[in-house]
C-alpha cells in the first residue's frame, strides 16, 4: 500500500511533481502512466526517499520508507536509471544487497534462476544487455519477498518473451495479494497488465480510475457506419452532443449515439447500411485526449494570467 498526499518536488525552478495525491492498493496491478518526463520516475524516487519532497508526504505500508526495519521486505523496486555497479558480477551484486538484511545465498540463487540469469550470474554486469540488466533489476526487487513491488518501465529493453514474462509476473504478484505499482509510457502495455491507472502529465494527476473506466470516459463510444447513402444519413444525425466525421466516401464515424440508435434511425428513414460497428478507443487515444485537455487547460491558464498582468 502506497499513500501519497500532495506530493511536490522541485528541481531548481523546475517542478517535476506537482501536488500529487494517490493511493496504490494491494491485490491489483496499478499502472502509472504518463509521457516521458511527466514525473513518474521522480515520484518513485520520492516513495523510496532517494530524493526528499519539496512538499507533501508519502508512506509505504503506513510508514516512511526510511523508518522500516527491513526496507527490502516492504518494497522491491526496479528504478529506471541503472542502479548496479558495472564492475561487479550479478551474483555479487545481489549478494551484497541480500546481506544488508541477513538474507542467505540460497535466496540469491533462487532469484537468479527466477529471472533466467543462471548462465551469466558470474559475469560482470557491465557486459550485460539492456534486457539482462532489467532481469537483474527485477531479481534485486524480489530479493526481500516484498509486500509492495514498484517497477519503473520494467519492459524497457526486453524481448517479446521477456515482456510476456513480466506481464505474468505482475499478474502473479497481484494475485499473491501484493501491491503492484508499474510505470510505463506505453499505453498499450498498460492496457494489457493494469487493472487500475494513475495517469500524470507534467507532474500533475490527470486521472485515477480503473483501466476500463479510463478508456470509456476518455473516449466516448465511436460507431463506424458504412453506407452508400452517407450524405442522407449525415443530415439525419444532428444534435448537440453528436459529431460525425467522414474518413472516406461512404464511411462515417459517429460519436454521441449508440449503434442501436443509429440502426433504428437508418431503418426508419429507409437508409441502407453495409456496416455498423461500435468501436472502443484505444488507451493511446484516451490518453492523448486527456493530456491534450490538460495542456490546453494550462495554455488557457497562462493566457489569463498574462491578461491579468
Amino acid at each position: 500500500m502506497i499513500v501519497a498526499e500532495s506530493l511536490t518536488k522541485n528541481y531548481g525552478d523546475q517542478r517535476a511533481v506537482d501536488d500529487l495525491s494517490f493511493t496504490v492498493r494491494p491485490g491489483v496491478v496499478t499502472g502509472f502512466l504518463g509521457p516521458n518526463g511527466s514525473g513518474k520516475s521522480t515520484t518513485m524516487r520520492l516513495i523510496l526517499e532517494l530524493d526528499a519532497p519539496t512538499g507533501g508526504d508519502v508512506t509505504v505500508n503506513g510508514k516512511h520508507y526510511r523508518d522500516h526495519a527491513a526496507p527490502l521486505h516492504e518494497v522491491g523496486a526496479l528504478l529506471e536509471a541503472r542502479s548496479v555497479h558495472t564492475g561487479r558480477s550479478a551474483y555479487n551484486h545481489l549478494l551484497a544487497l541480500a546481506q544488508t538484511h541477513g538474507i542467505g545465498r540460497q535466496r540469491v540463487d533462487e532469484m537468479i534462476d527466477l529471472v533466467g540469469l543462471h548462465d551469466v550470474a558470474k559475469k560482470r554486469v557491465g557486459k550485460f544487455s539492456l534486457g539482462m540488466g532489467q532481469r537483474l533489476g527485477i531479481a534485486a526487487a524480489m530479493l526481500g519477498d516484498p509486500s509492495t513491488v514498484m517497477l519503473d518501465e520494467p519492459v524497457n529493453g526486453l524481448d517479446p518473451e521477456g515482456i510476456l514474462w513480466v506481464r505474468h509476473l505482475l499478474r502473479g504478484l497481484a494475485a499473491d495479494g501484493r501491491t503492484v505499482f508499474v510505470s510505463s509510457h506505453l499505453m498499450s502495455e498498460m492496457s494489457l497488465t493494469a487493472d487500475h491507472l494513475i495517469v500524470i502529465g507534467k507532474g500533475r494527476k490527470i486521472a485515477d480510475m480503473s483501466t476500463q473506466d479510463f478508456i470509456k470516459q476518455a473516449s466516448g463510444t465511436v460507431v463506424l457506419v458504412r453506407t452508400p447513402q452517407a450524405a442522407e444519413l449525415e443530415a439525419l444525425l444532428s444534435g448537440p452532443d453528436i459529431t460525425v466525421t467522414s474518413a472516406s466516401p461512404g464511411l462515417l464515424e459517429v460519436r454521441g449515439l449508440t449503434a442501436q440508435q443509429i440502426g433504428e434511425l437508418a431503418a426508419a428513414n429507409g437508409i441502407v447500411l453495409h456496416e455498423l460497428t461500435p468501436q472502443q478507443a484505444s488507451l493511446e487515444e484516451a490518453f492523448m485526449t486527456l493530456t491534450r485537455d490538460d495542456l490546453e487547460f494550462k495554455a488557457a491558464d497562462l493566457e489569463s494570467e498574462e491578461a491579468v498582468a
Partner: protein, 276 residues
C-alpha cells in the same frame, strides 16, 4: 533463458531479517572484495610498499663506495624502509575515493540506499571495512620492507638500525596506520565530492599541491602553518626524528585522525541531506 516465460510464482522468504550495522558491514565487505579495481589498487599498494625500499636499499648499498660523505650522511635507514609508503598512499587514496564515487558514477548508490535508506550505516560500514582491510593488509608489507631493506644494507654493514631502537617500531607500524588514515580521508572527500575525478583532484590538491605552495610564504609563516597541514601532521606517524617545526608522532597522528573525522562528518551530514 527460454524457460522463463511461464508464470512462476515468487518463492516466499520464510524469514526476513532487519537491517543492522553488522549486516551492512558484511555487505560492504562483499562489495569491496568483488571489484577488480579494489584488488588491483590494494595489490599495487602492497607491492610498492615492499619493492621500492628493496630497490632503494640495493641502489644505496651498491653505490655506497662512490658516495660522498655528505651524501652518506643524508641517507637514513628508515627513509629507505618507508619510501614505499609515500608512493603507495596514492594507490590507497585513489581506492578510498573510488569506494564511494564508484557507486555514484554507476548508479549503485541508489540500490545501496534503497536497501539501507537510513544511509549512515552505509558510510560507517564503508569507512570501517576499508580502514580495517587497509591496515591489516599493509602491516605485513611495512614490516617486510623494513627487514628486507635492512638485510640488503647489512651486507655492506651500512645504515643499520634495530627494530627495538626507540621510535623504530612506532615509525614502521606508523606507516601502515598512516596509509589507513589516508584511505579514510580520501573516502570522506569522495563522499563529499561524489565524483571520481573531482575526489582524486581534491585529495591531490590537499596532499601534493598545497604543501609545496607553503614555501612561497615567509619562512616563519611557513613554519607556523605547514606542520598543521593534514599531510605533514600525518607524516609524523612514520618519521623517526622530530624538531620544533614538526609535531610529535602522537600529536601529528591525532591531528590527522581529526582531519579524517572531520571529512567523514561533513560527508555524513551531506549524505543524509542530499538527493541521490
Amino acid at each position: 533463458m527460454s524457460t522463463v516465460s511461464q508464470a512462476q510464482p515468487i518463492p516466499r522468504l520464510p524469514h526476513t531479517g532487519r537491517v543492522t550495522q553488522l549486516r551492512v558491514a558484511v555487505s560492504e565487505w562483499t562489495k569491496l572484495r568483488s571489484l577488480r579495481s579494489t584488488l588491483w589498487s590494494l595489490f599495487a599498494a602492497v607491492l610498492l610498499t615492499i619493492l621500492l625500499p628493496v630497490l632503494f636499499a640495493a641502489i644505496t648499498s651498491s653505490h655506497w663506495g662512490s658516495m660522498s660523505p655528505h651524501d652518506r650522511a643524508d641517507r637514513h635507514p628508515l627513509d629507505i624502509a618507508l619510501a614505499g609508503v609515500n608512493v603507495s598512499q596514492l594507490a590507497i587514496a585513489v581506492l578510498g575515493v573510488l569506494v564511494i564515487t564508484g557507486e555514484y558514477s554507476t548508479g549503485m548508490i541508489r540500490a545501496s540506499f534503497t536497501a539501507v535508506p537510513k544511509r549512515l550505516p552505509v558510510l560507517w560500514a564503508k569507512t570501517g571495512v576499508f580502514a580495517l582491510v587497509t591496515l591489516l593488509l599493509l602491516i605485513p608489507p611495512v614490516l617486510i620492507a623494513f627487514f628486507a631493506s635492512q638485510a640488503i644494507l647489512s651486507r655492506h654493514n651500512i645504515l643499520q638500525i634495530s627494530f627495538s631502537h626507540p621510535g623504530v617500531a612506532r615509525s614502521v607500524l606508523g606507516g601502515a596506520l598512516y596509509l589507513m588514515l589516508v584511505g579514510i580521508f580520501a573516502l570522506g572527500i569522495g563522499a563529499i565530492v561524489r565524483n571520481t575525478a573531482g575526489g582524486i583532484a581534491t585529495f591531490a590538491g590537499i596532499f601534493f599541491v598545497i604543501p609545496p605552495l607553503m614555501n612561497i610564504l615567509p619562512s616563519n609563516w611557513n613554519d607556523a602553518i605547514s606542520k598543521y597541514l593534514p599531510s605533514e601532521a600525518g607524516r609524523q606517524l612514520f618519521s623517526l626524528t622530530h624538531d620544533s617545526n614538526s609535531l610529535s608522532p602522537t600529536a601529528g597522528g591525532l591531528l590527522f585522525a581529526g582531519y579524517c573525522a572531520l571529512a567523514i562528518a561533513i560527508a555524513a551530514v551531506l549524505l543524509v541531506r542530499r538527493d541521490t
